[in-house]
């Protein structure tokens, strides 16, 4: 039984904030391959191409036949054979988190693994395995209770691997549109303490303003991602007390490339979505990084909501797709940087959003509430990538199977 999280006390100004170490980061290429799959919420292990037997730790050739190996989804059950509580370590990250419980797990998939243990798991238990990502973005087998236990998500060891919004303060960059508003409400419902809701032009009203700004826990803030000084001013005010950033800024206009493309739209799109993302990262990443191990409400995640068409391009929305592509690229770079500081960088991928800028795109489209749900889920699970809705899932799975074919399909 897990104690429910309690709100952290106000910071003692005389106490040095705990430095944001990350767990040891050296990994093999195979372990990194496991990480990227774990980052999408998969539970995968390698199987022998000849016999189908499963192997772990990550290998480069089958120990059964010396054939090559393939990552495959595996059953998630396991039994905990042995348990220990680590009380001493020479690693700076784990030293701050002692005692730390690990166990030997016999996976239903076959292999044996050393795993992190949820506080409600004990020796002999059947458990449900997940592959989490640690603060440095590396894969971590984590044994969860087989059945839901009270306050399960509040387990302190589990919370190291998630970016659960509960009790955290979140900046949602664009509250002027339906996506940001839906995201803000979903985060509050998931237990966020405060949602700072960005408004790019405080002199101009926006639809839903009175309703959203009246919600308890919403704090409207001036934030225009196309304006460096605006972004920096907000970071100067909030940088030290924002634990999660969710970038919902979008600028979508229909456009071709050689035909019907508007350079001024492209420019604004790039300013808003690409330069804006960099402004946001430069303003908030350093302060967040300094608080990545600051207790219950440690800074945890930087989430970017971008179009799945960043992977493929999109006929009729070429400029917006180009902005999304640049955004995904910047996010990858930021992920690499933030892995050293213990902040998870996440992508929420959307299909055409069901909004005023996709009026002539036929359904199914991605509803703002689906995006909001995905944002909460990606934070609670601590993933790196998540698809909001079926359209994005469909495109991502096609892209993973055959990138060039999917690019062709999406641009015809």
């Amino acid at each position: 039984m897990t104690d429910p999280l309690t709100p952290p006390k106000k910071k003692d100004p005389l106490v040095r904030t705990r430095a944001g170490h990350v767990p040891p980061g050296l990994r093999s290429r195979a372990a990194k391959a496991m990480a990227v799959r774990a980052g999408q919420g998969q539970f995968v292990l390698q199987t022998c191409n000849t016999t189908g037997q499963t192997t772990y730790p990550p290998r480069d050739r089958s120990p059964f036949t010396w054939d090559e190996l393939t990552w495959q989804e595996q059953p998630r059950g396991a039994v905990i054979e042995a348990v220990t509580t680590i009380d001493a370590t020479v690693d700076p990250f784990f030293r701050e988190h002692l005692p730390w419980r690990v166990g030997s797990a016999r996976l239903d998939a076959g292999p044996m693994a050393i795993v992190h243990l949820h506080g409600d798991v004990k020796q002999g238990d059947r458990v449900r395995m997940e592959i989490k990502l640690d603060r440095g973005g590396n894969p971590a087998l984590f044994a969860m209770p087989e059945k839901e236990t009270p306050n399960m998500a509040d387990d302190p060891q589990l919370r190291v691997f998630t970016a659960d919004p509960k009790l955290r303060r979140v900046l949602v960059t664009d509250g002027r549109g339906p996506v940001g508003q839906a995201v803000a409400q979903a985060l509050l419902k998931a237990g966020a303490k405060t949602v700072y809701l960005g408004n790019a032009d405080t002199l101009m009203r926006y639809p839903g303003q009175d309703r959203i700004e009246a919600i308890e826990g919403i704090e409207p803030v001036a934030l225009n991602l196309t304006d460096t000084s605006s972004t920096q001013e907000l970071a100067a005010q909030l940088g030290g007390k924002v634990e999660i950033v969710v970038n919902t800024a979008q600028f979508t206009r229909q456009s071709g490339v050689g035909f019907g493309g508007k350079l001024s739209d492209l420019q604004t799109g790039l300013e808003t979505e690409v330069s804006g993302l960099m402004r946001l990262a430069q303003a908030f990443a350093p302060a967040m990084s300094g608080r990545s191990d600051d207790g219950v409400n440690s800074a945890a995640a930087f989430v970017d909501v971008a179009s799945i068409h960043g992977l493929t391009g999109k006929s009729g929305f070429s400029g917006a797709a180009a902005a999304a592509a640049a955004r995904l690229s910047l996010i990858s770079g930021l992920r690499g940087e933030m892995a050293h500081t213990g902040i998870r960088v996440m992508s929420v991928l959307t299909g055409a959003i069901d909004d005023e800028w996709h009026q002539n795109v036929p359904p199914p489209k991605t509803a703002p509430v689906q995006i909001a749900k995905a944002v909460v889920e990606v934070l609670q699970k601590g993933q790196e990538t998540i698809c909001a809705g079926d359209v994005a899932k469909d495109i991502l799975s096609r892209w993973q199977a055959d990138p060039l074919l999917t690019i062709r399909e999406e641009n015809q």
Binding site: L26, P57, A82, D91, F94, W100, R101, V102, A140
Partner: protein, 391 residues
């Protein structure tokens, strides 16, 4: 399988222990040179005189045996690098003996040396192996303590062994260490102190853990003729075994490779456990001592509590165990920890111990266990050393 051929024509001599220190600013190269200098002092031989060199170390990176040969001015016609830590002593012994026996080499200096600089333990762990880097150390970074805690937790439950049983082994080894002037641990350890020690990674507590240190161990393998010429006392190798990655199917390690090959050892040696005057076993955590005693044929695992209760493991006892104090009390100097079972066993059968002498010692069982590559020790080996000529 055919019976192992004898090691006739090869003898072991000149055990060397360079006294350990907790932290050293020196390098593995320095410690290796110190061990060779002591061999030189005992034999009068210099760099040009050793035509064989067998080397084990973790902290010599980026050098292997090749770098060490040039660094220390050797020009061997046979050399080997043994990267197997706790199993390296037995493996060096076997390899050097066969090379001498075959005439590929006359006199082999077998050396294990490691330094222990501030923070080198953490750095060694962080990059120890591919599997540990991917799948063990990121899990709390308890190092070997955590890995062996899981093995111990399971072993205790499987075989009904308690901490009080391990206590007897550890307390006996500390008793043995008290006569060894080079042992790092110089104070007696009581049963109560052992039981009340703080947990490191339960059920592993403070006195179950070795103390990492710097040091070097060495011995010579050569022909009987050469040993006689040099005036060295000699032991012969009665039999050996070696096995790696045995019982991979066991979920948690409860046995090592010895269990698979032990009959071959006793058959080759034409001796049995009851003939051993002492055992020098790898002792990084008492659970491994207990596991070895069973796997080497001294008792069944489920009889371990009784076996431990019935025996006295001190130097004057019924089964002297790790008579220099073992790594638990003498210190663990990296790969040298895998050599000290050989050097100590050799000293006892050659009657030139660092501390107290096992009375009338003629046969020593030395056993190595090395390299926790992932969740268990992968490398195992054992050898029986028998007194031949005392000079």
């Amino acid at each position: 399988m055919a019976k192992q051929k004898s090691y006739d024509g090869a003898v072991v001599c000149a055990p060397v222990t360079v006294p350990y220190v907790r932290f050293s600013p020196e390098t593995a190269h320095w410690w290796t040179g110190a061990a060779l200098a002591e061999l030189s002092r005992q034999t009068g031989l210099g760099p040009a005189d050793f035509d064989g060199f067998c080397f084990a170390s973790f902290s010599a990176v980026p050098d292997s045996v090749v770098g060490m040969v040039q660094h220390l001015g050797l020009s061997p016609r046979w050399m080997d690098h043994i990267p197997t830590g706790g199993a390296s002593g037995v493996m060096a012994l076997r390899r050097a003996a066969r090379a001498v026996q075959a005439g590929d080499v006359d006199i082999v200096a077998c050396v294990a040396a490691d330094t222990n600089q501030i923070d080198s333990f953490r750095q060694t762990l962080a990059g120890f192996s591919r599997f540990s880097q991917d799948a063990t150390y990121p899990y709390g970074f308890g190092g070997p303590n955590a890995t062996f805690a899981l093995i111990t937790d399971n072993f205790m439950r499987q075989y009904g062994i308690g901490r009080e049983d391990f206590a007897k082994l550890c307390v006996a080894q500390r008793d043995n260490a008290l006569s060894n002037p080079t042992a790092l641990m110089k104070k007696p350890l009581t049963h109560e102190q052992y039981m009340k020690a703080r947990p490191i990674s339960d059920p592993v507590h403070l006195f179950d853990c070795v103390m990492p240190c710097a040091g070097a161990e060495a011995f010579i393998v050569t022909t009987p003729e050469k040993a006689e010429e040099l005036g060295l006392s000699t032991a012969r190798i009665a039999g050996t075994i070696e096995r790696h990655n045995a019982f991979a199917e066991d979920a948690v390690q409860t046995r090592g490779g010895w269990a698979r090959d032990i009959d071959d050892l006793w058959q080759a040696a034409e001796l049995g456990p009851q003939d051993m005057d002492m055992v020098q076993v790898y002792d990084d955590y008492p659970v491994i001592v207990a596991m070895q005693l069973a796997d080497l044929g001294f008792c069944d695992k489920d009889k371990l509590p009784e076996f431990i209760a019935q025996n006295d493991f001190t130097i004057s006892g019924s089964l002297p165990l790790n008579t220099n104090g073992g790594q638990l009390s003498a210190g663990q100097a990296g790969a040298a920890g895998g050599f000290q079972n050989v050097t100590e066993g050799l000293r006892q059968v050659l009657h030139c111990p660092l501390g107290d002498q096992v009375p009338d010692a003629r046969h020593a069982l030395v056993s190595g266990f090395g390299l926790v590559n992932y969740d268990r020790g992968v490398c195992t080996g054992a050898a029986v050393l028998t007194q031949e000529v005392l000079r």
